[in-house]
């Protein structure tokens, strides 16, 4: 490395940087997604703290007197979401094996199942019979399910991008991160729902 070329650093532009050393076997995008999920879990943690204080510390009735939560409907909805995790997995495995049909069908069904979940949830909101400002219990119920619903929406957005790219002929057995990374997020959204469902409806 001659010092002249260092001083005229801009001359090197066209060449681009030397490839960075890979100091870990972990893929950068996967690691990024995992860290993002950790911070998402903590965001849910903040709302679960609110739930804990409202239900346990303040000792309010659960659910608020005169209201009921549709455990059965939400339970079926849980099944819908869990099955979407399976189809997501199918899509990824197909992508890795170069099975284009499986990948496209898997992504599409995952998307449709997720959209169904969201629709059922919105329908539930309409028929619950209590509003977000009625009581602290209502607030945290809508708060947690709404936060989760927002995550489903983001997940659906990511899935729709992956689906569009899949139908436009992207992804291959060697290059399938665009399926894998949204997939991880989707599984997270799923697991989070199971926790939300258990704490809000079942317990």
């Amino acid at each position: 490395m001659e010092s002249a070329s260092v001083a005229l650093g801009h001359e090197h532009e066209q060449h681009g940087p030397p490839p960075a050393n890979r100091s870990s076997r972990v893929d950068a995008q996967l690691l990024g997604m995992l860290l993002f999920i950790i911070s998402e879990v903590m965001l849910f943690g903040a709302f679960f703290s609110a739930y804990f204080f409202i239900r346990v510390v303040a000792g309010n009735d659960w659910p608020a007197a005169g209201t009921a939560l549709p455990i059965a409907v939400a339970g079926c909805n849980t099944a819908v979401l869990v099955s979407s995790s399976l189809t997501m997995h199918w899509a990824l495995v197909s992508a890795k094996n170069g099975n284009r049909f499986g990948m496209r069908a898997g992504l599409l069904t995952t998307f449709l199942l997720g959209a169904t979940f969201l629709a059922v949830q919105i329908n539930e909101y309409v028929h619950l019979g209590f509003a977000i400002g009625d009581s602290a219990q209502a607030t945290i119920f809508y708060g947690l399910t709404g936060l989760h619903g927002a995550h489903v929406t983001v997940g659906l957005l990511l899935l729709s991008m992956a689906t569009i790219r899949a139908f436009r002929g992207h992804f291959s057995p060697t290059e399938h991160r665009g399926v894998e990374v949204p997939g991880i997020y989707w599984h997270f959204v799923d697991v989070m729902w199971i926790i939300v469902y258990t704490t809000l409806y079942v317990l």
């Binding site: 870990s24 860290l35 993002f36 609110a50 977000i132 602290a136 607030t139 809508y142």
Partner: protein
Amino acid sequence: MTVAARLRAPGWYRAMLSVPLGIGFAFALVVPLRALSHYKPVVDGDAITTVALISTPLAFLIGIGCFDYWFRWASGAPTVPEDHSGHGARSWRDYFRVNTDHKVIGIQYIVTTFVFFIAGGIMAMLMRAELAAPGEQFVDSNTFNGLFSVHASLMIFLFIIPVFAGIANYVLPLMIGAPDMAFPRLNALSFWMLPMAGILMLASFFAPGGAFNTGWTSYAPLSVDMPLGQTFFNVAVQFAGASSVATALNFLVTIVTMRAPGMTFWRMPLLVWANFTTSLLVVIATPFIAGSQFMVLLDRALHTDFFNAANGGDVIMYQHVFWFYSHPAVYIMMLPGFGIISEVISTNARKPIFGYRMMAFSLMAIVILGFTVWAHHMFVSGMFPWLRVPMMITTMLIAVPTGIKIFSWLATLWRGVIHLRTPMLFALGFITMFTLGGISGVMLAVIPVDIHVSDTYFVVAHIHYVLFGGSVFTIFAGIYHWFPKMTGRMYDETLGKVHFWLSFVFFNLTFGPMHLVGIDGMPRRVADYAQHFAFWNAFISVSSFFFGMSLLVFLYNIVTSWRHGPKAVANPWRAHTLEWQVSSPPPIFNFDEVPTVVGGPYEYGVPGAVHGVFKEKPAVKEPAVAAD
């Protein structure tokens, strides 16, 4: 370029177009919704502003071009190979664009945060002018409340936290031998979210009812009942928080996946360790403040009952959630500074860091313990009484790893060949001032003492000893230390020393007496006070004006040296870490060839020691016989 092309290309023209669209979006969303739900009035200023506060900054970010690449990707367009067109700066104009070069972003960060530092500083001067004598001088008490709230929020969320991210943005990839950060576009987005947050906070002064005035802590239910200005704070914190999480994630991935060959974790400079641990704190803790502000926002906008005790809400919950972030946040504001001090001290004492591994372990210990002490801010809040003593004990415990670091720096200085340059002076000033702040911290951890001095000027003294004498001194040390690397020019040493001594002396004259009036019972966050405190307050105000002036010396030095200072050589401090082995400023892609790391970063005075080598040119090497 034609006008139409300008409006389509990312940049300021498109941003000027998208901002009104953002505001229009708020109208288009709120007005029909209110009409449909039969709310009166249909056009409601507060509701529209609340939505606009979120949609307008987002519209600006879209307009300036933060999302272009991702939009392309999302639409399924073929991936374009990176042409590095958004990389590097050729003129000052490139600093006003979405740039993906970590060196450009670092400087964007530092300059932006200093602008907010100055804004916050001016507010501090106004407050001290008001407090110079009992009674009302210049501002009424509502304005005063706005001043201290915006002052504190700017200093914490727009200066100390992000300026460290800026310094690390510049030097961290260089230090680990990486060509850039792991996610350069995310990095650019992180930067551009910051001015959004700062402008929102400043803009709150123009809101009806004045700026938000519940302090940087924004306790509910007070913050729920405050006028519109409060919403500016709630939203601004979301932008600042998102920026800080995205940067932290970027640092973590960069450190894990992009270190140069041979750069094991135990060969990383302590600045890298410090940012690694800080980033862990940010990723884990920041969502809690986001959550707390979302809840306040919901209570304000949708009249939910998180903090409405009449409907079963819990107000103390706010403080738990808030401090679960904000205590770790004090370490977010301190650990990167610890890293800077380690670099500066070992380089300027020409000695290896004493107990390098212990330094890294104590950082990790602080990260873990930092999550177990939050309720020491709540001793007088009426929380569970049984939580007090455990929190007192953990708080005292956390002083142990902090103390380890202090002793390690002292041991590094011991028999070193000390070069008293400006960064070193600030580092030594930091050690003394931060120790004092740590001692008042341990005093505050003692429950009976805290009950006595809670919400008095003693707390104000404590936070300024740790935040100004601590964090800000490390920032100055870091800016002077890396100034030659960042700008390619040397700063003026004499002015630097003048700046240090002025700030050191007037810092103590300003904040030292606050301990006394605090123990005497002068409450914090009030515009007026008893006659009894008049003398010391006049004294503090005068000192604070001189203290404020000392910053002018710094700014003059930086501006003139940046423009006309003597050219800097690659390695003016004869340091070993990798950023000093490339030219000043570094070439556009940092390294023409990735170096190989063969030894520790601080082997000063160890005969024959090297840290990194290039294939063709060895990096600085200590002489076979120690010459210092």
